[in-house]
Each structure stands twice: as structure tokens, then as C-alpha cells.
Symmetry: C2
Subunit: 646 residues, 2 copies
Amino acid sequence: MLNKEESGENILHRAADGLPPRNLLTWLIGRPLPTADAPHQTIGKAVGMAVFASDALSSTAYATQEMMVILVFSATIAYGYVIPLSIAIVALLAIVILSYEQIVHAYPDGGGAYIVARDNLGEIPSQIAGAALLTDYILTAAVSISAGVAQIVSAFPVLFPHRVFLSVGLLFLILLINLRGVRESGQAVSFPSYFFVGVIGLTVIIGGYQYLTGSLGTVINPPPLETIHATQAITLLVILRAFSSGTAALTGIEAISNGVTAFKEPRGRNAGITLIWMGLILGSLFLGISFLGVHISAVPSAHETVISQIARTVYHDQNFLYLATIAGTTTILILATNTSFADFPRVSAILSKDGFLPRQLAFRGSRLVYSRGIVALAVIASLLIIILQASVTLLIPLYAIGVFLSFTLSQSGMAHRWFKSGKLAPGQEIREPGSILRHDSHWKIKLVINSIGAVATFCVMMVFAITKFIHGAYIVLIIIPMLVVFFSLIHRHYKQLANELSLDHYGEPFRIARHRVILPISGVHRGSLAALYYARSLTDDITAVHISVDPDETRKVQEKWDMWGDGARLVVLDSPYRLLLEPLIKYIFNVVDKRQPDEIITIVVPQFVPQHWYHNVLHMQTAFWLRLTLLFKRGIVVTDVPYQVD
Amino acid sequence: MLNKEESGENILHRAADGLPPRNLLTWLIGRPLPTADAPHQTIGKAVGMAVFASDALSSTAYATQEMMVILVFSATIAYGYVIPLSIAIVALLAIVILSYEQIVHAYPDGGGAYIVARDNLGEIPSQIAGAALLTDYILTAAVSISAGVAQIVSAFPVLFPHRVFLSVGLLFLILLINLRGVRESGQAVSFPSYFFVGVIGLTVIIGGYQYLTGSLGTVINPPPLETIHATQAITLLVILRAFSSGTAALTGIEAISNGVTAFKEPRGRNAGITLIWMGLILGSLFLGISFLGVHISAVPSAHETVISQIARTVYHDQNFLYLATIAGTTTILILATNTSFADFPRVSAILSKDGFLPRQLAFRGSRLVYSRGIVALAVIASLLIIILQASVTLLIPLYAIGVFLSFTLSQSGMAHRWFKSGKLAPGQEIREPGSILRHDSHWKIKLVINSIGAVATFCVMMVFAITKFIHGAYIVLIIIPMLVVFFSLIHRHYKQLANELSLDHYGEPFRIARHRVILPISGVHRGSLAALYYARSLTDDITAVHISVDPDETRKVQEKWDMWGDGARLVVLDSPYRLLLEPLIKYIFNVVDKRQPDEIITIVVPQFVPQHWYHNVLHMQTAFWLRLTLLFKRGIVVTDVPYQVD
């Protein structure tokens, strides 16, 4: 029978808000938010664009240049290929955007590559997608911060020796903004994102006007040409490599689909509209930059970015508008990191809820964000930045494989979904873990779109993996399978545990008939007597145990116990090798092994608690080690009776 | 009444040897030795010389050179002063040796500066002596290793970048040798110590013979003169500085007096004879080196040591005997470290027994040595070597102040002791903590000797402190008072604690009349039921507490508790901020504050124990944090009921 009431007390659902006091942490990240506020922590389309699109938009800052680098050879630039390839990439972008637009409608509770693969392709593909996404978010954070800091450092060479410190410091700032919560972080990034779109958009529009009126010049004093492909001919492979390098423009697109739940209702619709706007802006900026880059004869170089060359040609000088363009580009690169911070914790929380990552990652922190995931991302990305010394060159080859692997998996998943949808009768519904599957009358055309997308992104991924294999791509190809194995091991642990703890087939409860106490004492003092009196309240069967290292000390203990021991038995164990713990544990194990089935043995340990924690270094931590050792032995319960000293 | 017997069991002094199995540690440092073996772990005079004298002897390798460096100026060397100063130093050495010879007889249980100051000067001087000794042993270890490695590195410049690693590696080797125990470490160092005495002795004898027969040449191709005192005149200060630099030869003499207990019985006599032999050898070698150094016109230089110049002049070439001399010198420098390892642990154990350092330092390890002190020395010296990059130049100025400070204190103490002795009637005895004070008929002459020694060593210390103040001596003058304050704080803690725990004035024992159990549960499963049944064996007054973060989860817990809760009360605490620990602790504190005087509250925590320790990262460690928080609250006992999963 359940007693829900106790005399005079209302104990059911007693409010225990437990709001912690203001301290450094609440000052940094804000006061805790109650769970009931969760629905209010959502964002509209305009802020959503800033939060989830900064990664995708920032890639226009380098995609054209990356493509041009491949096409530079024999002291001439195969500029004829730049615009056709850009158009092809924008076509690919359109396919990917269309596909994701379908995903955000089909998966209003969040439909990243992981969920789509889980519902439509099975466990292993979904775990591969999860591993690819997590890897990619970490790399995005590291690459974007490093690239942004590299821009700052190019402008101010004096900061060069501090680039690692700067990168980690900025990462920490973004960490704090994100720990405050999604609405605040959206507000913080809104202005820079739109500022970037504004300045690059203005540059493209003015440049386009100049082209139409014939006043667009070519770049004055271009950086020196670094002819690294001097003897190479234009082959299909070169064109494919340029294409795959240019597809860096597509990185970050999937962010919105993972973050649908962060949008205001109706989520699917809002997220879909944001996605299409993002695709339009991204495509226009990318095409515009490629177009201007070709017509001003920009030279891709490590010394000056193509964006910088376009801006100073269009604005005729390094004037205010030029500086605004460079500042906007730098800022968006650093903020691209924010996309990782928005999505990495969400994906890891989903994986965690499915039992593939530690449970703690699914636990919302004081500001209703998945704080542990946010901190984990910051720590791993910081380590990566420190190990690779904030070098973009070393990070870039690791970067895009994960993106295209997750594109391929999510589009294959969607293709399979339309196929399943086509087999349903109109009106029929199947409830899947992440969404509801209905018949769709346009399933054939949608199947075709997603299949084309899947094949295209698969090809891009393969070209990427092959051409960048030796430059570091192999690391990702090792890490992703390792992560998948890791996920499986965690999953197995949680499943086994649930079985072990399950009350199904739980027989007759275990009744304790005899209770025996062992009381280890190093000396006879107020602390050990407090433990003795506590033990008396449990049972009369008490055995005090003293480990004898020094015979004089032992004699004193025996005499004092005669006087104060309240009649309890004292066992003295000789320890010829001056060990304290080992003889005691041996004795306890011996007693436990001889115990009766219905007998429980409690080790009552007098735990001396000093006034200040650091006083602990002045004492042998025998109680701590004893507890740690006995924890793994069946049939023993360890009770610490603390004795506080003032 | 004390029950010493239990039916069928002989429980008093049951043998519980608990000899641990062979493992990596026992392979490295040897099998544990029983306490009963302690008396056998002593050494004779010949091994004692090697163990305790390597530090003192090794200083002859640089003392002459250090003196010459000060006397080099105006492109000439004031060689006329070297031999008189050397004779003065040997006279000082004789006084110090005589004084220590008296100490080892008066203090057969070990009579370092700390004990002599404690028994004769009071608490503060003894703590200053203790601080000076500990500082000095750490510096000796760091300096000697660094100096030895510097010799190796001079011979093999390719090892220069690895000098820190080499130093720390050698330190680790000496650490292992010392952890094996005193006899083994004595045997290990015997050969190199006597080898050094042999090769330097041979060099001095052959050189002396050559001088007498007129065949001793001057050094060929001496290293270039580094005229750093170009414009300086010979003043009293310069001569004093040369004298104080030369007194580096005296460092290490006190080692034997600290280590008297390591000698075979009769300890005092054996240690005294060893001390006198050491003084004779040290004095002869030092005088011989100074004599030869002057007559071959050696040039003190960082590029070639004076020892090396003497050896290649005496042996006419860099032949086998030359190489043996250099190898012996290098080895003794490295082994001088061993003296620190022999004495630092002993001094810290004495301080620890007096309650001025953590108790753990007085605990003998498996090989009957003070392992914690040995490891502490190795760690601190390693840190010093790493921070100062194994630079002898940076370490040397810190080095000798501690030595002469402890000389001054121990000789002042002895002087005071003879004064007290003179006041006693013949045959009268006073038992002091470290020794027995008797009337001594020669107390006046002994008082004079010790007083002269005290004044002389005090002057040397002052000259050292003043002339080397800005080069680093100030650090030691800051550290020693800080250590004294540190000792006092530790001492106060132990004294307060002993008062708190004392059974004097301990009134009526506290009887527990009511026992109440609070059982925090996150869910209802086999683990929480095991804890419930255990709680049942303690009391009937059980309150299960569940923190509600998710209402669906809470409903499940309530339903399951209805079924399995065995009628125990369930309290559900709402946690709007998703905190687990804080509402629970608030509830517990509330219950505890309202408890009756004779009531005890036990928190029974279901502690889930995974199969492998690393599985813990997959679970919230709520039980651990709960226990840590509640430890400091009076009137609560925390019991972990482990539930092991296979």
C-alpha cells in the first residue's frame, strides 16, 4: 500500500524549486530557466536564418577560391570552366535544398541525416550518419574559427604567435553565448550574419552594374601566381577535383533540418521557408562571386583572398566599403562555428536518447540547452585547434567528407521513404520513430529528385575522399567506423543494463534475517565511538577490527577498547608488511564468503571529516580506498559514519 | 567486557600477512620486507661512507674551480690566495667534522640539525633547520643530477637537447634504487664512490710525485680566460667571496649525522668513525686538487673543468686514466643525488612524527624505507629540473645557504648543549626527546669548538646570502620562512584534531533511539529494491524520494512503486529547473534540521556498480555527489547499497 500522506505534511509533488543562488556561473550564462519555459525558447525565420545559416553562407567566402586553385596551371587560368562549374554546383545546391525542404516537412521534430537514415535505412547507416555529422560539426567549429583567426592574423601579423590562444578564446566566447541559450545566441549572431549578406550582396550588385555598364576593371597588382600544377593538362579528373572543391559551398546546408525543433510553430513550414531563402541567398552570392572573380581576372592565392581582390576592384580602393566587406567575411567565418554549437548538441542528444551516446548528453542544463554537448564540442574542437596549431591547411582535407556522406545517407533515406510511400494506399499512415509516413501522390518525382541528389552527393564524396585521401581524409575514414563501433558498445551496455535491472521475472524479494557489522578502527577516539554507537543501532553482532602495525600502538588500542568498547568484540590483525588495507579486505572477504544466504554484512567505517577539504592531504584516506574496493564485492554494504571536526 | 574469543575462531593476533602478489612494482623495487627485518636493514662503515658521503665528496669536483673563478681578474689569476684559502676551508672543515663527530655520539638515534636545534634551541630554530635541510636536499638532488648530466652533455653535445629528459630519467633510476631499500642502494653506490676516490686520489698522488721530482708541467692549450672581473681590485670582499665559493666543498657533510640510525650497532661509534674518514678523504682530495690546480696554472672555465685540466696535465694526454678520472667525476656527481634520497625521507619522517609534516611521510613502505618521502623528493626535484631546464647556473645560487644555515643552527645547538652539560653535576642525566644529556668534563673546550664553528659557518652563510642575493639566493630566503609557517599550520591542525577526538571529558555515550531512512530513487528497478530491502533491515521508518523532472517518467515511477514499494512512503519532489541533487539535498537538510536529539537519519543510496569501472562515464554519478555533499552535514549517515551488474 502506498502512503501518500503523512500527518501534517503534504508530501506529494511538493514544490522544491531549488533555484541556485547568483554566482559567477549564473552571471556568465544567465539565471536558470524552468522546464515550463521550453516552448518559449524558439525562434522565428529571420533569427533562424542567422543561427543555422551562418555556416552555409560563410562557405561562399572560400568556395570560389578553392575551385580556382585547382584550375590554375601552366601559367594560365582555365577560367572558362569556373562559371559552368559554378552553375553545376548551384544546380546541385538546388537539388540538395529541394530534398531538405521535403525533409523538414516530413520530419517536423528534427530530421537530420541521422533520423532520416534511422527511419528509412536501418541502424548501421543511421549510426554512420550520426558519426559523420558529429565529426563534421567538430571540424566545422575548428576550421571556421581557425579560418577567421587566420584572416585577422593576416591583417595584424603581430598577433600571429597568439593565434592558438585567440582561436581558443573565441571558441570559449561562443561557448558562453551558446550556454546562455538558443534565443540569446540567435540574437547575438543575427546582426553579423545579415551584415555579411549585406556587404557581399552590395559588392555583387555594384560589380554586376559595373559589368553591365562596362566599367568593371581587372584586379590591379594581383598577388603572384603560385603555379603548382605547371605541367598538368586539363583532364576530367582535374575538372572533377575543381567541382568537388567548389562544393565546399554546400557545407552547412543540413543545419536547418537538424534544428527544426528550435523554430516557432508551424515548425516544418517555417524551417522550410528559411531553408529556401538560405538556398537562394547562398546560390546568388556564390554565382555572383564566381562571375566577378572570373571577370576581374582574380588570382587565387594564400596572400590575398579572391573576396578581397573583388572588393578592392569593385570599390577601386581599400576604402571603408572594402574594409566592411573584409570585416563581414571574417566575422561570418568565426560565427560559422555557431552553427556547430547549435547542432552538435542536438544531434548528440538524439543519439543519446536512442542509447548510442552517454545519457548525460540528453539532459538539458540550467538554460534549457544541452550544456554537456556544448561543452564537449568546445573541448574537442579546442584540442583539435591546439594540436594542429590553428592551421586551416591541416584541417581542410578532413572537412567535407562527413558533410557529403551525411547528404548521401539522408537523400538515400528519403528516396527509400518515397518508395515506401508509393506502396501505401491513399490515407494510410505508418507511425515511424521520427515521423508519420503517409501516401504521397507525387512520390515518383520526389523519388527521382532524391535519387539524383543521392548519386550526385555520393560522387562528390568519392572524388573528395580519393583526391584528398593522403592529405588527411584517411583520418576521417578511420574515425567514422571507430565511432560507429563505439556507439554500438554503448548501446549494448545500456540494453544489458536495462535487462539486468528489469523487474520482469523478479521473484520473491530477498529478506534479510541476520545483520552483522564489521567496524574497522585505527584508534579509539570520539570518531570511532560515534561509529560504534551507530553500529549498535543496526545490530548487536559487531566486530571491531584493528590492523596492528606497531605493537605499542596496538596495546594502547586494546586497553582503550576494554574501557570504551561497550562490550563489542575486537579482532586484531597483524600486518607484518605494514599494509593497512589488504589484511582488512582479506578478513572482510573471508567473513563474507562464509556468510549465510539471508545474512547481510555492513562495514561501518568511521569517516573523519576535517574542517577544510584540503586537510585531507594530512590524513590517510583509508576509508575512501576501502569503500572503493568493497563496492565490487557482493553482499557487503559500506556505511560511512562521518565525524565532523570544527 | 572484551570478548577476545569467538566460538571456533582464534581471533586475537590472527596472522594476516597479506603479502601482495608479484607484479610490476615488486619486480622494480623488490618483494615487501616484514617489519621484523628492520634491524637487519643496517649498513657498515664502508657502505655507509658510500651512501652518505657521495654528496660531500662530489663537491671536490667543483669547489676549487668555484674559488678560482672569483680570483680571476685583470688577465692574471691571484693564485697566491688559492692555497691559503684552501687551507682555511680545510680548517673550517675540520671544525665542522669535529662538531658533527660530537653530534653523532651525543645523538645515536640521528642528530641532524633539526633534532639538535629542537632539543637545544627550541621550536622555531628547529623548524628553520628542518626547512633549510629539506630545501637543501631538494637542491642537492637537482644540482647534482644537472651537473652530472652537464658533464655528459659536454662530452656528447648531441645529447644537449635531451638533457632535461636525461636528468629526469637518471633521477627516476635513483628513485627506484632507493625504493628498493637502504642496503641495496648502498651496494649500488659503493663501487662508483670508491672508484671516484681512487681515480682522484691517484691523480693527486701522481701529480704530487711529479711536483716533487720537478716533472709536473703546466696545462697545455688551456681554455680561453673569461675575464669577467676585468677592472676589479683584490678587496677583502673578493677574498671572502672566493672563500665562501670554496666552502661548497663542505656541502653534504651533515648527511651522516641525519642517518645514524642506518648504521650497524654501535651506531654512534660507527657513524663517528665514518665521518672522520670522510673528512680526511675530503680534505686531502680538496687540498690536493687546489695544489695541483695552482701549479699547473689551470684556468677556470665553463668549457673545461679544472679537474679535466689537472688530469690531462698529469697523464700527459687524454688517455685511459684521464677518461677514468672524468667518468668517475661524472658518476659521483650523479650519485651525490643519492645522499639526498638517503636523508630527505629521514628528515621528513622525523618532522612528520613531530606533527609538522603530513603523517603519511612517517609511514615505512613495503621495502621498509620512507617511500612517500623518496617519491616526494623525486617529484619536486624533477619539477625543479624541468622548470629550470637542468641549468646548473640557475640552480647553484640557491644551493649553499640552506647547508650553512643548518650548520650554524646545529653548532649553536651543540654549544648550548655543552653549556647545559657544564651546569649538570657529574653522573646527573636529563632525558631530552632526541638524546640523553649528561655532564661532560670537557664541556668547556667542546663549547669553544662548537662556538667557533657556529660563528664561522654563520659568517660563510651571510657572505653567501649577500653576494648571491640577486642571483637567486633571495628565493631560498623566501621559501624557508614559508616552510616554517607551513609546518606550524600543519602542527596546529594535528593538535586541534587530537583535542577534538580525545576521550578526556567524554560524557555519557550518545544512544540512538529512533532511526529514520531516506531512500532516493531515480527509478523502480532491482537496484532500488535491493536498497529498499536493506533499509527495511534498519528501520520501518522509510521514505523513498523521487525527483521529478519529466512528468511521464514520474507517473511510471509512482505506478511501479505502488506495486513493488512494499508499503513504503514515496515523496515526489518537483524540480522545475531540472536539477537532481539540489532539491534532494534541500529536502534532506529540512528533515535533518527537524529531527529529534536521539534520532539518526540514514540516507540509503542505491549505488549502481557497472561491470567495468569505465562504464561509469555512461551514468550520472548522483550517488557520488550526494555522498560528498552530505558528508559535511551533522546527524546524517550515508549508506551505499551497491547493486552489481554482471
